[in-house]
């Protein structure tokens, strides 16, 4: 916070226009009595303006620490980061002016009503009293909190609180919106509702970074995803790029009328064929993992017929982000 604090314009120029978030070898190591605990070990991100970017990873992967550093509440121990073109360490106030943050925990002001939470937040960001009230009402209406206007923040349901947290993060029209596990612990309706809201914001060009450990959330919402584990980015790209790039297999499952006899799997001749990975037998079904799935289904049906088993149903599952994710994080564990 010494040299660079003197030259915010230089820091601003580094990231260039049109970049919402950029990090270079960003690191955070916590010092504890038991020794140093690395939470983030050199993350490089580049999120252009207007993108909805997801950090996907299991609990303890370093997602929240990364968001913490980007939102100035966690001090990096190495590397650099810029948000909206501003260095997070050199000019934290400049960054705070330009970001909206929805934390994982409920940080609403419990002493205030729903309206007051929005009004005071607006005023913290420099709006006049009347403007703040107008903005609060606009947000309340858009987020469907009209009948909870005068409720104390303590009296809101989980879903209402989450909506208010997001509304509050938007009061000053932030350049970049950060959401740390925005749908954790919400019921499916509220969750899909929030997805809709994020979709609309994204369509309006809002830059968004969200963390999640729900694959389907990342898959449904994000333009690009970085899979994070143990403080490192394991893979990054669009959902399709991740699926193509990580060697995840298509899974072909065939379910027969009865128990699969021993030897049927071998009879298919699939094991050992190029482009076919594992062949699993599981009670009444056989599951095949293949990078080249053509013809696999036919073999399974034919082998069943030879053994006198009719097929009850069959499914061919393209690699999901989940298989990608488990592939990546699984590989990490084996090392």
């Amino acid at each position: 916070m010494t040299d660079s604090a003197m030259q915010p314009p230089a820091a601003r120029a580094t990231a260039g226009a049109g970049t919402a978030i950029r990090t270079e070898d960003l690191r955070k190591t916590y010092k504890t009595p038991r020794g140093d605990v690395p939470a983030v070990r050199g993350i490089d991100l580049n999120v252009p303006s207007g993108e909805l970017f997801g950090l996907l990873g299991p609990n303890g992967a370093g997602k929240s620490t990364t968001i913490g550093m980007l939102t100035t509440l966690v001090l990096p121990t190495g590397g650099r980061a810029w948000v909206a073109g501003i260095d997070v360490v050199a000019d934290p106030v400049g960054v705070k002016r330009r970001i909206g943050v929805v934390t994982q925990n409920n940080t609403l002001d419990m002493q205030l009503t729903v309206t007051e939470n929005l009004e005071f937040r607006s005023r913290f960001f420099g709006l006049g009293t009347r403007e703040a009230t107008r903005r609060a009402h606009q947000l309340i209406d858009a987020f469907g909190l009209g009948d909870r206007r005068k409720a104390m923040a303590t009296d809101l349901s989980g879903g209402q609180a989450r909506r208010l947290l997001i509304a509050r993060a938007l009061v000053h029209r932030p350049e970049v919106l950060f959401l740390d596990e925005p749908t954790a612990g919400l019921d499916p309706q509220t969750r899909v509702n929030l997805w809709d809201i994020l979709g609309v914001l994204h369509d309006q060009g809002q830059s968004i970074l969200l963390t999640t450990h729900y694959m389907e959330e990342a898959e449904a919402l994000c333009d690009r995803i970085a899979v994070v584990d143990h403080g490192e980015v394991l893979a990054a790209g669009t959902v399709d790029e991740l699926k193509d790039g990580t060697g995840a297999d298509t899974v072909i499952t065939v379910r027969y009328e009865g128990e699969v006899p021993d030897g049927l799997a071998a009879d298919t001749g699939l094991a050992g064929r190029p482009g076919v990975g594992k062949v699993e037998t599981d009670h009444d079904r056989i599951r095949v993992f293949a990078s080249e799935p053509d013809g696999v289904l036919g073999e399974l049906v034919a082998a069943g017929a030879r053994a006198g088993l009719t097929v009850r149903d069959a499914a061919q599952l393209k690699p999901s982000l989940e298989t990608v994710f488990l592939n990546l994080t699984g590989r990490e564990y084996r090392e």
Binding site: W195, D203, L317
Partner: protein
């Protein structure tokens, strides 16, 4: 169970994203971006808004805060300057004329000083400490524990040090108000003939003492709030508030402690002593009090030291 797993794969690409929100909310959400006011935050505006928030909460909790603030000093003066003189005559707290009483012990400089006169500045100082800590420490411990609601305020567009300063100023304002509420009570409640001798000759000095003492307690409150373990909050009373008050020259003037030399020196580490003595000097000049230079040095110096240490630990705990 038909075509079991295929439903698990959402369509690839953009089609995977849910359609825009229902016709009612979609445009309203979009308008939040397109029709947004342009904020022009400045440090002064943000600071003022944070203070406005404190006063909104204070006003909302006014009855509770007032009751809590008033009960202790009210009962204290009632028992010691009304009940005791009535039931005991000159016994114990009867006042000036009996050399054995607490008031009598104060007879170092002015033998005409009664217990009520000693209590007026003492209880006001005690009020400052209570309110300063109640207003800063308790909310802060809450904000740092559990949901870490402190993060909300920490994301306001000001440096964290300003946030710490704002906590001190807001706490000091509450302590100041508390002292003003106590003043008429301790002035009015007493038995006949037990009226305190209050005589303010130097009003500006009174304001200075009140303001610096308020800031001192709020700074102490900030420091305690950032170092206290929330699970040990009840220790605050036993280890800090109670000794600070009982050994803070609230119920006796410092000069009277000359009978117990070691204690007279020991209590000098207690900031409360200087608050009581400062108010004693400006409110009841008739009673013996410590030298003003010592009082002001500690009140101002203590505010600076506690404020600095409090802001430092505060910043360390907000930014991790």
């Amino acid at each position: 169970m038909t075509s079991t797993t295929s439903t698990m794969t959402p369509p690839a690409g953009d089609a995977g994203r849910p359609a825009a929100a229902g016709a009612s909310t979609g445009p309203a959400i979009a308008a939040l971006i397109t029709e947004a006011p342009v904020p022009q935050p400045t440090l002064a505006k943000t600071f003022a808004a944070m203070m406005a928030r404190e006063f909104r909460v204070l006003r909302r909790n006014a009855v509770g805060t007032f009751t809590r603030a008033v009960m202790q000093p009210l009962l204290f003066v009632f028992v010691f300057t009304y009940v005791m003189p009535k039931i005991g005559g000159g016994f114990m707290f009867g006042g000036a004329s009996t050399a054995a009483g607490a008031g009598g012990a104060a007879g170092v400089a002015a033998s005409s000083v009664n217990f009520a006169t000693i209590l007026v500045p003492g209880l006001m100082a005690s009020m400052l400490l209570m309110q300063g800590i109640m207003a800063v420490t308790f909310p802060l411990v809450m904000e740092f524990s559990w949901q870490r609601t402190i993060e909300d305020r920490a994301l306001a567009p000001v440096p964290i040090g300003v946030l710490a300063t704002q906590k001190i100023v807001a706490g000091a304002a509450q302590a100041f108000i508390g002292a003003l509420i106590v003043f008429p009570i301790v002035l009015v409640v007493h038995a006949a003939g037990q009226a305190p001798h209050v005589h303010v000759t130097n009003w500006p000095l009174l304001v200075v003492i009140l303001v610096t003492a308020s800031l001192l307690t709020a700074s102490l409150g900030l420091l305690l709030g950032t170092v206290m373990d929330p699970r040990k909050m009840q220790m605050l009373f036993a280890v800090i508030l109670l000794p600070a008050t009982m050994l803070g020259c609230v119920y006796y003037p410092w000069a009277a402690l000359h009978q117990i030399r070691w204690l007279q020196y020991l209590v000098l580490i207690n900031p409360m002593v200087y608050m009581s003595e400062g108010l004693r000097a400006v409110l009841t000049p008739g009673s013996a009090h410590m030298a003003m230079w010592a009082i002001l040095t500690v009140l101002v110096g203590g505010t600076v030291i506690f404020g600095y240490l409090g802001a430092r630990t505060f910043t360390r705990r907000v930014l991790n």
